[in-house]
Symmetry: C2
Subunit: 350 residues, 2 copies
């Protein structure tokens, strides 16, 4: 029985719970059962039940009322992390940049320092505090998995740690922010930057203030996560050389298109001497380039290693279900492996 | 200490031994050490030493003399599998189709039935006998890993078994045969089929008799491997609907190109009712299609699952080193995991 404390219950948290309910038979067949003993949110209330909350009721309340009904608690999320009886913290709170990943960093530290496991889809803590969290996990025996922080549930971190043992990542490049990719695709079709951005906001793809996406911050956070977790870089998102798409003119897009090029916001990490360098910037790519084929919500990541030709992961049109699956996969991995083995995590066993 | 019996010592076997020698320090740091107690080949002789062969001398002999020098043995490879003292069989003998994967199937059966582990880059045994080998492994406690059988060492089987737990593969599509991809790319550049094929033979890409590639057999074998190992299909390569590129005219390629299309030999697997269907056939793809961006030696595979948007693996211009890495990764996985855990293999733990 996996007893979870969930922080955050937005589209991804709801998709996760839906997926677990839908597949309860198949999951039971693998020996996996799931209980949420607490769900804490910023704006939808908190629920708590040491015997396990009624998951269907949680989903119903959100869909019918937009918040949890019935008995609630005014316990703070951090206090919940510190005191409740659970096996795994599922951290799904929103990304913060100015606050350097807080309060999620503290939530995760608190759980790990108790020797408890953590699965997070929030990239902030990994981008701002990966080394500290990893070391804490190693010391306390807690485990930290974060597959869904980049490219939703597509295998990235688990791919490297579980399928590329004995190899070392030397660089990466990727199209990792769907809002800018959506905007750039629409601009090629003739929209202005302003119109395409508004369209993204209206469709719920971008936030009302789209600057985190348009200015390249979301991409820079993901770049920092990749550089830290895959390449051991000692950087955070503020260290990423960052250029957004806010200054790109309609003419520049159309000109590029006429020359057989597509403009994409590309994330990069590479080694220069012994240091890891990172950047996020718009680039003109040939239409034959692998990334030029990624439109709208598609994402892609090419991983360069010491021992292999580049391997690229391409994800076609993902939804919150993909992110939810990444979390479920991490939960299954923790459940399946004895805690002492430790190396189910995204960090090497040593 | 991993004590290996190697069958086959062509470009992949040599690349593997080179990689192990080059990285012996790093591998020792992971607790991995390697000994080849026997190397058996069809045309280069056999070497045997229970204390471990001199790996550098093996490489030197092949490069200087094209065969092993010094004391040899006339023991048959199958006898070696049956009687020698080793931990893992590394099966790298060439693919056979008319012989339904033999003699490699028998080599692997013999090792597994002794409870010994097997790593193979030979796709024949998986395409023709996967179920039997998997069941034998489960019964005997031997383990069977075969990451390098499709797309060299790019994560495919390990990706699904290690990073997509709790999910089910519902279909796939791929560009998996480099010889035909090379020929089709050259034809787009103006070569005739005959000239492009001869060029592939001269460059050592295709065999002197290129029919296994041109007629789609190699692709059909890989399709069968994917359908069996990822989708549980009860088929072999003869069951794959197969059409090669031998009848494609230069005009057809140029016509397609003028219409903005590229012709690719596409492998497919999908579900129809409860049955798994498979095909290999040339298809006209839009130039914006992900696979249209794959030229010459590039390969790609899209995996469709119950719970995620399609995830695609793209491999840019691989070499025998990639195949060797896949084998090394499999060896490290076996070494790292206690044998009783069993599920280090490509098959689910159950």
């Amino acid at each position: 029985m996996t007893r979870a404390l969930m922080i955050g219950f937005g589209s991804v948290g709801q998709a996760l719970v839906n997926m677990i309910l839908d597949r309860s038979g198949k999951l039971a067949g693998r020996g996996f059962s799931f209980q949420a003993i607490g769900v804490f949110t910023r704006t939808r209330g908190n629920r708590l039940d040491p015997k396990g909350l009624d998951l269907k009721a949680l989903l119903y309340d959100i869909s019918a009322h937009g918040k949890f009904m019935g008995e609630t608690t005014d316990m703070a999320a951090l206090e919940a992390c510190r005191t409740l009886d659970y096996d795994v913290l599922i951290e799904l709170s929103p990304l913060t940049i100015a606050d350097h990943g807080e309060p999620a960093v503290s939530h995760i530290k608190t759980a790990l320092s108790r020797g408890l496991d953590v699965v997070t889809a929030n990239k902030g803590p990994i981008a701002f505090a990966y080394d500290e969290l990893r070391d804490l996990a190693r010391k306390s025996g807690g485990r930290l998995l974060f597959e869904s922080t980049v490219m939703d549930g597509a295998p990235v971190f688990n791919l490297v740690s579980r399928c590329m043992k004995g190899n070392a990542v030397t660089g990466f490049s990727g199209i990792l922010n769907s809002t800018t990719n959506y905007i750039l695709t629409r601009m090629e079709e003739g929209d202005s930057l302003a119109a395409a951005t508004q369209e993204a906001i209206d469709a719920g793809i971008a936030e009302a203030d789209p600057s985190n996406d348009v200015d390249g911050w979301d991409a820079a956070v993901k770049t920092a996560v990749l550089a830290r977790a895959l390449m051991g870089a000692g950087i955070d998102p503020f260290d990423v050389m960052r250029q957004g798409i806010g200054n790109i003119t309609d003419e520049a897009i159309q000109n590029a298109s006429a020359r057989g090029k597509r403009v994409k916001l590309v994330c990069r990490g590479w080694k220069e001497n012994d240091a890891v360098k990172t950047s996020v910037a718009p680039e003109e790519l040939d239409k034959t380039h692998l990334f030029a084929g990624l439109s709208l919500f598609d994402a892609g990541l090419c991983i360069e290693t010491e021992l292999m030709a580049p391997n690229c992961i391409i994800q076609k049109d993902p939804t919150p279900r993909d992110t939810a699956f990444g979390i479920l996969e991490d939960l299954l991995s923790l459940d399946e492996r004895p805690k002492e083995a430790g190396c189910a995590g995204n960090h090497p066993c040593a």
